[in-house]
Symmetry: C3
Subunit: 340 residues, 3 copies
């Protein structure tokens, strides 16, 4: 693929510095870029890389206009990182081309399912009875859309994603391979040393513009639905328990776990491996550091952390051993303070 | 679905207070319930919700008899939470209806597999040679039952569950979507800077009444089998290493990891994200707090914890920095104590 | 299967002590072994088990020659654990037998895919257009090999593994069930409170002799590829973010998470549940303890740890509460030290 940078400037709504006819054929980082590469500079900290880069064109912020012009071709955009994101989207769409709608000969669409004519249904995909698959939807190979489930317009379920019976996802979503939406929540009543199953009668309701990572699980609700609001982004191997509500535009990195009935606000984030316990509430704009365990509600926006700092093993062992006597140390300190 | 509360009282073996003819059409929490809702009160703490609830009927304990009667219709049961669990089971069974046995036209059942006539085999399901599928079993779409594997009576493998070759699951089990039973354990012999594979020659043996969550993995044993005893409940994204034994009626929440050859007692529990290292032993009735790492055997029943308390980021940073000098602090304290 | 121990000694290149005609029919641990069992002793600590074992033959190191001879038959090998690994490989190959190449009638191989005649393609497997599947490759049931993906010679993809479009794996690899190679990396540009998707234009490049656990995820790169070098071993439920590089012969246990753009050296290891943050670098021969969170680069080989020691719940509560005042304790200690 060869693209004129003049066309890219027009696409991104930016100001072109340099020769509009110059063509690029890949997007790449500043470092290691060649004349066939379009790159971007979003963080002024990397300005030194700009001067040194051999990139054929660089997307920069207005503040970098002079520095970029001194180097070579550039596209000046208000938000270069956002422009870069939009460029990747356009690039991927060119690569993908037009995918004709249609149902693969090997797919099974049960009677009573409603599949829009423009939807693509991949090999070995399964669409249960009563399910609704909207316009422009793409179901990959081995996808399972359960009885009565709903897939909104232009949503893509990649190979082997599962949307269980009665669950709903809105428009323009992406569900990656292996994700399981709508397995049973983990609910049991103890009974004489055994666990009696509480059937999970709710479903999962997912808004528009939601992305769900590979092998991520979102459980169906016990009585009411588990809810993922618009614009939420979940990375891979995330676990969302039953009756959780994740507020709009929140984003969780890989391996995050959220226990049942937690209510997460809007515009929250959680770093990789964070755990949020159940039956608690986070207000909007709460940011959880990676590997932190949230054990109670948070009523104030901000960054919250709780991870054990790593050290070389010998130092850690000494400190960890002392940690187990920390309460005693405090008592001893108190005793010393009371000494006349 | 409209159900007379008199019929529900009979089903649950409870005493009905109020009009047996009143009909309900959903199960729901006290809070937000309407006259068409049957609800329950298991924790006396929520008694205030009882008085305020508009539920058409409430399942309560004998101690709540008066309070419930003052409000409206109720079913009095010795254990309301257990009664609620049983009610969900009955409700789900009504919804599900009778599923006729049979093998979907697209499924592959290899010669030499024995499938009971009452079993249901879903679209694109695969049953390997020599496998045995019992009465009333339901295999969902894309399920893989390997060569020589065994599925006990009335066990359900949901869409895309994998039971690998030679592995066995007992009766009345549920395996959720994406679970992988019987992948190779993680075993290698170091050899001149490389890893030489130790083939995993054991299998996985799972008892009766076991539930296994979505995308959970249980590895096959190296020489002997990995064993999951009766009544165990594993949530989603749990990892069980090779040659682990999980004792009967133990339950692990989401994202728990158990390393190879750990022996877990009966009636143990582990909260979400807990890690149990390998080659150790937990006696019966050990309860592990969420996100706790168990690094040695536990010989005494009880609750065990070890998680870093979270804080706002600034407070955490100060404390974490000091933690790395904790051993030194102890030395300094000791020096002070020795001062005359 | 009955095997003469003389044949096994020849196979392993070891010295036989005892009757070459004695036959064994299983491999098992010393403890509980019977005369039909071949066992091994790799750790001198377990020498007491050797004397007591009823095993028909034991693989031992030269240092154990006398002790083993005093007990019964033995095979003396320089590295008994490695010999044991090789024995399991031979054993598994015997069990497996010769698998004839061929494409299952239900599989879909798209036009333009190149599948070697000796490859085995399982039921419901899918091979996309332009994909290349090498000699001796085995694709299990429900495997997805995307458009333009490459599978090297003698690599095995177990039931339901996904190798997405354009991704490559080398020779002699094993990918366990449910693993997802090549889902989109987690990349978004913030834009007025929403997340704008950065399309992930790179792929995943995996070397030779790599093993990837069940339900493990390796994301495709944003611009360049995510790289897994030769001989790497990843356990189950591991998450590898976009543009990570894992150096040759490194091994990660279950539930490990590595965030985007981390560069891991060669011969590194990480215990279960460890988290490695993004945009950092570990040199060769770094070993991370289970459940440790690596928050910055490590420039020196060695063992690194950072996990909260567990305790009974009451003791933990006291220490954790004090931990939240640790900085204050240090201040108080300093004040005391300054007292004349």
């Amino acid at each position: 693929m060869q693209v004129r940078i003049g066309d890219l400037a027009a696409l991104l709504g930016g100001e072109l510095l340099g020769d509009a006819e110059h063509a690029v054929s890949r997007i790449g980082p500043l470092d290691g870029a060649a004349p066939d590469t379009i790159s971007f500079l979003s963080n002024p900290r990397y300005q030194a890389q700009l001067a040194a880069s051999r990139a054929g064109c660089v997307i920069v912020a207005p503040a970098m206009r002079e520095a970029a012009a001194a180097r070579g071709a550039a596209i000046v955009c208000a938000d270069p990182y956002l422009a870069f994101a939009r460029l990747t989207q356009w690039w991927a769409a060119q690569r993908r081309g037009i995918v004709p709608g249609g149902v693969h000969a090997s797919a099974v669409v049960e009677p009573g399912a409603v599949v829009h004519a423009s939807a693509v249904i991949g090999a070995f995909a399964y669409v249960g009875s009563g399910a609704r698959v909207g316009a422009g939807v793409v179901l990959g190979t081995h996808v399972h859309v359960g009885e009565g489930a709903t897939v909104g317009e232009h949503t893509v379920l990649k190979a082997r994603a599962v949307l269980s019976e009665g669950c709903r996802i809105g428009a323009r979503g992406i569900v990656h391979s292996g994700a399981v939406i709508g397995a049973d929540g983990f609910g049991f009543a103890p009974s004489a040393g055994r666990w009696e199953k509480i059937e999970q009668l709710g479903a999962v309701a997912i808004g528009d513009d939601v992305e769900i990572g590979a092998n991520t699980c979102i459980d169906r609700g016990a009585l009411d639905d588990t809810v993922i609001e618009d614009g939420v982004k979940l990375d891979n191997l995330v676990q969302i328990g039953h009756n959780v509500r994740v507020g709009a535009h929140s984003a969780f990195a890989g391996c995050v776990g959220v226990a049942g009935s937690a209510k997460i606000g809007r515009h929250c984030t959680a770093g990789g491996g964070a755990i949020i316990l159940g039956h608690l509430e986070l207000v909007d704009h709460v940011h959880i550091t990676a590997a932190t365990v949230i054990t109670r509600s948070i009523h104030k926006p901000g960054q919250y952390s709780g991870l054990f700092p790593f050290d070389d093993n010998a130092a850690w062992e000494k400190n960890a051993a002392t940690l187990r006597q920390l309460h005693t140390l405090r008592e001893r300190l108190r005793a010393l303070e009371k000494k006349p």
